[in-house]
């Protein structure tokens, strides 16, 4: 791999940029691999990367039915935070945040991680109690968060209206280390690093069936032919249920649409991420100046990557109340992603009823922030065949055993 550096830019500037090589190779699939990962989104590529980096397994293919990073990795609002209530969540999301902090150097690819700070507004007394509890829990978990006053919120976010008629701002949960990153760059950076380790990234290759022998996985039928593998990792978010069905087991997952949108670009006006969970909208400003906006999921099962208009209206109504100055902004683009929701709104990183077949799914509406930690934990699980400390609590059998990691109660909303 040709390293990116200031010297590389200087060298290429002198030869009219004719020497840049492709960031990753696009080979045809081989007949067999040690590991096949289904899904070349952030989580799948991160899994492959840490399999190679941490465990020395590089005979790996990452197969993708669409294009690299074209699913939810390219459809989120790029928010990164680790201020979760439950211990297993805080552990894996904070691992992810720590890895994000050094990711550009690690991958030699600028993922534009911007730890600009993140606020979760408390707008009801119930929420104040909830966030104070989270701050205390984070303190015990070693995750630095703090409770701040409405005045401090106003200092951090001058455009906010803290005296709204319905839901005045009563304070906020503040994580200074939270922020955003460039979502595509995360997928591209991992893909480039995987390719450099000799892994094959195979796009437009859809899985049509999972073949198993004697209760263990043998390979996958794809649109580019049969690919044998010793271990299979399923990392496909919205279509996890369909893939599990091919392998012959069921998941406690439902797929729903989550929408997001961006405004026309404006001058810098907000340099933190603000989430308002009571009225349910969140907003940050991208480096291009667009206001990046998200809200709640649509309420019904949906695989169409588009949602209902009235949900956008609800989100914008909430945010106009919170940030009156955005009321005349034009919204430029809107999109939807299919998110995989579990009953306790926590992910699944688990062995499955099929031998040597592992699954990483259920990230629901909050997967982007977890990509490095998720890949790290999934790689550990796949390499050893047993979950490490990060993944241990996220087994798919926790729903039967009653060991929920209940973040739906902790957040009050899908998050």
């Amino acid at each position: 791999m040709q390293r990116y550096s200031v010297f590389a830019i200087a060298r290429e500037a002198l030869r009219h940029h004719t020497g840049w090589e492709r960031a990753w190779k696009s080979p045809e699939p081989k007949a067999a691999y040690d590991v096949v990962i289904v899904g070349a989104g952030g989580h799948g590529l991160a899994t492959a990367y840490y399999l190679g980096k941490n465990h020395g397994i590089t005979n790996v293919a990452v197969i993708e039915k669409g294009w690299l990073g074209g699913g939810n990795t390219g459809r989120n609002t790029t928010i990164i935070r680790s201020n979760y209530l439950q211990d297993p969540s805080a552990a894996i999301y904070d691992k992810a945040l720590q890895l994000y902090e050094g990711l550009s150097q690690d991958l030699n690819y600028n993922v534009m991680f911007s730890p600009r700070g993140l606020l979760m507004l408390a707008q009801t007394h119930h929420e104040v109690r909830g966030y104070l509890r989270t701050v205390h829990a984070n303190l015990l978990q070693g995750v630095a968060t703090e409770w701040i006053s409405p005045q401090r919120v106003k200092e951090l976010v001058p455009i906010i209206n803290i005296d709204g008629p319905r839901y005045p701002v009563l304070g906020a949960l503040y994580q200074a280390r939270g922020g955003t990153a460039r979502h595509d760059a995360v997928a591209w950076g991992y893909a480039r690093a995987c390719s450099a380790m000799g892994m094959d990234i195979i796009q437009t290759c859809e899985v049509k069936g999972v073949r198993s022998e004697n209760g263990a996985v043998a390979g996958v039928e794809t649109t580019k032919g049969y690919i044998a593998c010793k271990k299979l990792g399923m990392v496909v978010a919205g279509h996890s249920g369909q893939l599990a069905d091919m392998a012959g087991f069921r998941l406690p997952i439902e797929a729903v649409a989550l929408q997001a949108l961006v405004s026309e670009p404006i001058k810098p006006c907000m340099d933190v991420v603000v989430m308002a969970n009571t009225v349910h909208g969140y907003m940050s400003q991208s480096d291009k100046g667009e206001m990046v906006i998200g809200g709640g999921t649509d309420g019904f099962n949906n695989f169409t990557q588009r949602g209902s208009f009235h949900h956008i209206e609800e989100t914008l109504r909430a945010l106009v109340e919170t940030f009156p100055m955005i009321s005349r902004l034009k919204m430029l683009r809107q999109w939807g992603g299919i998110v995989d929701m579990t009953g306790d709104r926590s992910p699944i990183i688990s062995k499955t009823p099929v031998g040597n077949c592992f699954i990483n799914c259920g990230w629901g509406t909050g997967g982007f922030k977890a990509i490095p930690g998720s890949g790290w934990a999934m790689a550990e699980l796949m390499a050893r065949g047993e979950p490490g400390p990060l993944a241990a609590e996220f087994s798919m059998w926790r729903f039967k055993e009653g060991r929920f990691i209940d973040e739906s109660v902790a957040a009050g909303v899908a998050h």
Binding site: Q242, P252, E254, N301, N302, F303, S308, H310, F399, K400
Partner: protein, 107 residues
């Protein structure tokens, strides 16, 4: 935009009048049931990409719960029926089979 006809009041209700209620025809389990049964009732869902039977409430209309057959891949609505039906009406199943020949049936 989804339009579902409420089988009770006959109104063609638009999505904002309705509240979605998840998968229909779930078998309920109570105290004394096995962990597997609770898991099946509370968490295991069919989540099909295609024909789906689900509960809806005409929240801003007559307020009643009803059931609907809908395609999650295209958002096409096949029909609605009262919540008292223990399984989808045969004529609705026939209609769906005609439109989706590869559909494996509702169970």
């Amino acid at each position: 935009m989804l339009l579902l006809e409420c089988p009770y009041c006959g109104v063609k209700a638009e999505e904002t009048e309705l509240t979605p209620g998840g998968e229909a025809h779930l078998k309920r389990f109570g105290p004394g049931s096995a962990p597997e049964e609770f898991e099946a009732y509370m968490f295991a869902r069919k989540n099909p990409k295609g024909v789906h039977f689900e509960r809806w409430r005409h929240a801003y209309g007559c307020g009643k719960w009803f059931l609907a057959a809908r395609c999650t891949a295209t958002l096409e609505v096949f029909g609605t029926y009262p919540a008292q039906c223990p399984e989808p009406p045969p004529e609705l199943v026939k209609k769906i089979k005609a439109k989706r020949p590869n559909w494996k049936g509702w169970k």
